[in-house]
């Protein structure tokens, strides 16, 4: 069992290395190899479930070792990771054809799978941090492969996520200091005093990886610059899997989040704010991919809200929602990819009437859009209901944020679907048709998973429930979550309202794309939106602005110091050096005199000592 745990890392790593060194031609070789590795990892991870195991190897000393632990939660998420990797690699095989650096892209994807699996299975904080940080580099690489100037966005992502990681490192150090161990399964810390600080720092790291506000602003940029499979891969699925996994671990196992604690309220506030603000931005986007990217942020808010609520329903809902979101969000990005590949653009103003040209893609889109909006009987509905249940238990305001988010999500997807697939057929490119079957298969599989998880929602919930073991006391029933009928009714009303809102908008403006213009151009919102579009609220821009001011000040100080080093000290050194060179006059008589004088001094010292 020990070796098979490691295989979840070594298979992707080995394949990643091999893909990088094998020759470019034939093209199919590296594609087949990557796919083979991804499916092998998937098969392996399926064998993990229900068989707890652990493995440990000495590494750096000081309690830092490579230790891994497979238990139900991590096993479940390793399955999810490997599943997404397999699907997206399959999709990329066709999608990435004709681009540069595909070899590097496959290699980076496989490497990321290895790192994510390592992070999920790690049972040592340092080991986890190692894999966690390593993801920074693959993220950077995969974004930078995109357009020619994508490295700027890559740098932005690197800095934003990297700052979160720095906080996390400090948090881990405090944990070690408090608990005296680095084993995650043995870490239990009270969140008071330093412990509270450690929790906040680790939480920041987890939130930054998840992409919640205020660590979100690289995601929309990456949507336009990075290769599309990256979007489906990292921000939509793997980053969420890893971030939410770690958030759950620190909230449940390490710090034992309490319902009435400030930490719980903080998390819920961040979650609520992320839902609303990101979805508001999504609403007004005029680009397929960018719109989706804001939803990738907004949906993270639901998960954080659910876990932050510290109620059984919320936690299970949050994790369930994470899996659901990873499914439909990556699936939706894949439909965007079909559009980009076949129509050559994702600009909604140019698209239209694609439903007849790409019926399969359209069908997938509809199901997943319904799912993300929380429409029964698809999977998103069940996880959202659980989160609503938890939110209303903890405070009406959180519930209102969540339900408003739902309304806006539905509205934005109505707009997106209408603008892209319905309406007047655009003629940007003749003979637009469905993408190749290899691109369709992952889409269909993911859509089917959405439907299945919806129809049989009891199964995933039962799989997630053991996560609560040890967190919720044994008296409370862990088996069922009774559906709250009034909440479901409200949900349905809200969704109907969204539909009515869309119909009204279309009637008013005559176009699907402009269906939400009445919200976009509402009196007060209008000016806020304008500023947001310019990036004024982007924490990254604010941060870089502050850094610029700081650097001007620092440069000024530096000049002053420079003067000391640039003229004062060299002049002094030159003077001393000149004097020393002068007394070395090259005459051996002088040198003998020095030696003899020193000899007498030495003998005097030998008699009397240095006083």
């Amino acid at each position: 069992m020990m070796s098979s745990v490691l295989l979840a890392l070594t298979i992707p790593f080995a394949a990643s290395g091999v893909v990088l060194i094998i020759p470019n031609k034939p093209r199919a070789l590296k594609e087949m190899l990557s796919l083979l590795a991804a499916f092998a990892t998937l098969a392996l991870s399926l064998s993990f479930y229900g068989r707890p195991a652990s493995a440990s190897f000495d590494w750096a000393g000081f309690g830092i070792n490579l230790s891994f632990r497979v238990y139900n939660f991590s096993a479940l998420l390793v399955i999810a990771t490997s599943f997404f990797a397999a699907m997206l690699l399959m999709y990329s095989c066709v999608f990435m054809r004709g681009r540069e650096n595909t070899k590097l892209f496959y290699s980076l994807i496989l490497m990321s799978v290895g790192f994510v699996n390592g992070g999920l299975l790690a049972d040592n904080l340092i080991c986890l941090l190692f894999f966690w940080e390593a993801l920074l580099f693959t993220t950077y690489g995969m974004i930078a492969i995109g357009k020619t100037n994508a490295f700027k966005t890559a740098t932005k992502a690197f800095i934003i996520v990297g700052i979160g990681d720095i906080f996390m490192v400090v948090g881990a150090a405090i944990c070690y200091n408090l608990a005296g161990t680095l084993r995650i399964s043995e870490l239990h810390i009270d969140s008071i005093g330093l412990g509270a600080l450690a929790f906040v720092l680790l939480m920041i790291g987890a939130l930054a990886k998840t992409g919640s506000m205020p660590f979100h602003s690289w995601i929309p940029d990456a949507a336009t610059d990075a290769p599309l499979p990256f979007m489906a891969f990292a921000p939509a699925s793997l980053d969420k899997v890893l971030g939410i996994y770690f958030l759950t671990r620190i909230s449940l196992d390490i710090f034992r989040l309490h319902q009435e604690s400030w930490a719980s309220y903080t998390l819920m506030t961040i979650g609520g704010a992320t839902i609303i603000l990101a979805v508001m931005m999504a609403l007004i986007q005029k680009d397929y991919k960018k719109l989706l990217s804001y939803h990738a942020i907004s949906q993270a808010g639901y998960m954080i809200l659910g876990i932050g609520s510290a109620t059984p329903a919320g936690i299970v809902g949050g994790i369930f929602h994470m899996i659901n979101n990873a499914l439909y969000k990556s699936g939706l990005f894949l439909t965007a990819g079909s559009m980009e590949k076949q129509a050559g653009t994702t600009d909604l103003e140019k698209l239209g009437g694609m439903a007849t040209r790409m019926p399969v893609t359209f069908a997938c889109f509809v199901i997943m859009a319904l799912s993300i909006s929380g429409t029964p009987p698809f999977n998103g509905f069940f996880s959202k209901e659980l989160i609503y249940d938890a939110a209303i238990e903890r405070g009406t305001v959180f519930y209102l944020a969540a339900i408003a988010g739902s309304f806006l999500t539905a509205a934005s997807f109505l707009k997106l679907g209408h603008a892209a697939f319905l309406g007047k057929a655009s003629e940007i490119r003749p003979n637009i048709k469905e993408p190749p079957i290899i691109m369709l298969v992952p889409m269909i599989v993911i859509t089917a998973a959405c439907v299945l998880l919806g129809l049989r929602s009891a199964i995933p919930i039962r799989l997630i429930l053991p996560v609560l073991n040890g967190y919720i006391s044994a008296q409370e029933p862990l088996t069922d979550f009774a559906p709250n009928l009034s909440l479901i009714a409200i949900t349905l009303v809200v969704l109907t309202c969204a539909l009515l809102n869309h119909i009204l908008g279309v009637i008013r403006t005559g176009s699907g794309l402009k269906a939400v213009d009445h919200i976009h151009y509402a009196p007060l919102l209008h000016s806020i939106y304008d500023k947001a579009e310019k990036g004024i609220f982007d924490p990254y821009n604010i941060g870089t602005g502050l850094v610029k001011i700081f650097s001007v000040g620092a440069a000024w100080c530096d000049k002053a110091i420079d003067r000391v080093y640039g003229s004062l000290i060299p002049t002094a050194a030159e003077t001393v050096s000149f004097a020393i060179r002068k007394i070395h006059n090259g005459s051996y008589k002088t040198y003998i005199l020095w030696s003899l004088a020193a000899l007498f001094l030495v003998i005097i010292v030998m008699f009397n000592g240095l006083k």
């Binding site: 050096s577 020095w594 020193a598 030495v602």
Partner: protein, 476 residues
């Protein structure tokens, strides 16, 4: 068996000089190469069969005992490595077969003398081997027979003569006191008596060794000798001759004969610091590559002596490690200067510029050598300096530690100035046709740079195997 390291080169020289014609002269290079490589391998592997410490008698009157301990191993390794480097540089700088033959004879003689110095166990034989090394060195410095070389050799000879007088006088006094020349007998005698004359003898002896080692203010001969000698000789002198004749003998004398007298310790701390500072400041203003390296050599030797003056096991281990490192990086920098000299015809730094473009291997290895000398991690020079500084700090010599750190900034300053003038920047006018150095010089510089990087990166194991045992030798 250790005496084979003396006898094989000695009889080798004799046989090579028999009038058998040209074949022997051609064989001399390979013979010398083989001897040095065997010495390196033996020193690294510590073959117990070879090094068994049996007592060997040369004849009834004149007993010579050789014994080898960890410190000798490090020195034998340095001697082998630097002699090998010098031989390789010679291959690319001296082309006349007769000149080469003479050089190889002298090089083997010097190397044999140094091997003797580090293995003897009595003070008089040590003096003999010192003289063998010194005389071979005089001739080597004067090898090119131009006016500067002769001047440099003359100054070295005059001051060495002074050193010989001092050492011989001290030996005579100690011999009188102890009745025997062996280290242990003299150490016992010093322990027992409380004669003031012994203190004088100690002073004379230490001063003689400091002249040989080129410490300030006994250093006057050193820049002229290093600067005027031909490239292969500069490598040998700076890398090992002054270290074996002056610095190794100093620590051996302190440990085995004189004991760590409080006055001597204070003296060494003061002289070490003065050497560090004077050498570093003088190096700043130099225009000639080799003279700059010569002053830098004085400064680096100061660190070693500072470590001896501190005299804790850690400090001595660090100092010996620095001695080893200094042998390697200073040889490397002199090899680089040889590369520049062979291609440019001079070592004037103002005439060079941008050579790294044309001589990439020389340029790269010189950066490694310079950074190691300045003590930049993870190169090996960093570790030895930090050990010395930490040891000084632990022993309470805070100011000496601070000075040592400050001086390593100056070291970085003058070495970087050298890099900028010689290797970086725009290619100087008239140097468009410059080529990379020849094979021997290239091989030597790559070998030394690899040692610097290897010892730096694998420092923990290098320390445990090579250096820590030396510190333990001094715990008493």
């Amino acid at each position: 068996m250790p005496s084979l390291l003396i006898f094989i080169p000695l009889f080798g020289i004799v046989i090579l000089n028999l009038p058998f014609g040209k074949a022997m002269r051609n064989a001399a290079f390979w013979f010398a190469l083989a001897v040095f490589i065997v010495q390196i391998v033996l020193a690294i592997t510590h073959q117990p069969i070879f090094w068994g410490n049996e007592i060997e008698q040369m004849d009834a009157f004149f007993r010579v005992n050789f014994s080898v301990d960890q410190l000798s191993f490090v020195m034998l390794l340095c001697i082998g490595l630097v002699s090998l480097t010098s031989l390789l540089v010679m291959r690319d700088t001296i082309f006349d077969i007769n000149e080469r033959f003479k050089f190889i004879n002298l090089l083997m003689l010097a190397s044999m003398g140094m091997s003797g110095i580090v293995m003897v166990t009595d003070i008089f034989t040590m003096y003999i081997f010192l003289e063998i090394t010194a005389i071979a060195s005089f001739i080597l410095i004067a090898f090119e027979k131009d006016v500067y070389a002769l001047e440099g050799a003359f100054k070295y000879m005059v001051l060495s003569a002074l050193a010989s007088v001092l050492i011989l006088a001290a030996t005579a006094i100690l011999l009188l006191g102890a009745g025997s020349a062996s280290f242990t007998a003299i150490a016992d005698a010093i322990h027992r008596t409380d004669n003031n004359l012994i203190a004088v003898a100690m002073g004379l002896f230490v001063c003689g060794l400091l002249i040989k080692g080129g410490m300030v203010p006994f250093h006057g001969w050193l820049p002229d000798a290093y600067g005027a000698a031909s490239p292969a000789v500069s490598v040998l002198l700076a890398g090992i001759v002054t270290k074996a004749a002056g610095i190794y003998t100093l620590i051996r004398a302190l440990n085995s004969i004189l004991g760590f007298d409080a006055n001597i310790k204070a003296l060494l701390l003061a002289l070490g610091t003065i050497s560090i500072l004077v050498g570093a400041f003088a190096a700043i203003g130099q225009k000639d590559f080799k003279r700059m390296l010569a002053y830098s050599s004085i400064s680096q030797t100061g660190y070693i002596v500072l470590g001896f003056g501190c005299a804790t096991p850690l400090a001595i281990a660090g100092a010996v490690f620095h001695l080893f490192n200094h042998s390697i990086f200073k040889s490397l920098l002199f090899v680089n200067s040889a590369a520049v000299e062979t291609r440019l015809g001079s070592t004037d730094m103002d005439r060079a510029g941008g050579l790294a473009q044309k001589m990439p291997i020389t340029g790269f290895t010189s950066v490694i050598g310079a950074l190691s000398a300045a003590g930049i991690p993870p190169l090996s020079g960093f570790w030895s300096k930090i050990i010395i500084v930490v040891a000084l700090w632990q022993a309470g010599h805070t100011w000496y530690a601070a000075t040592a750190i400050m001086a390593s900034i100056i070291t970085l300053a003058y070495l970087l100035a050298m890099q900028r003038k010689v290797f970086f920047g725009k290619l100087a006018l008239g140097l468009e046709d410059i080529e990379e150095a020849r094979l021997g010089i290239r091989a030597a510089s790559v070998m030394l740079a690899a040692i610097i990087i290897g010892f730096g990166v694998l420092f923990p194991s290098a320390y445990a195997i090579f250096i820590a045992p030396i510190g333990e030798m001094f715990i008493k």
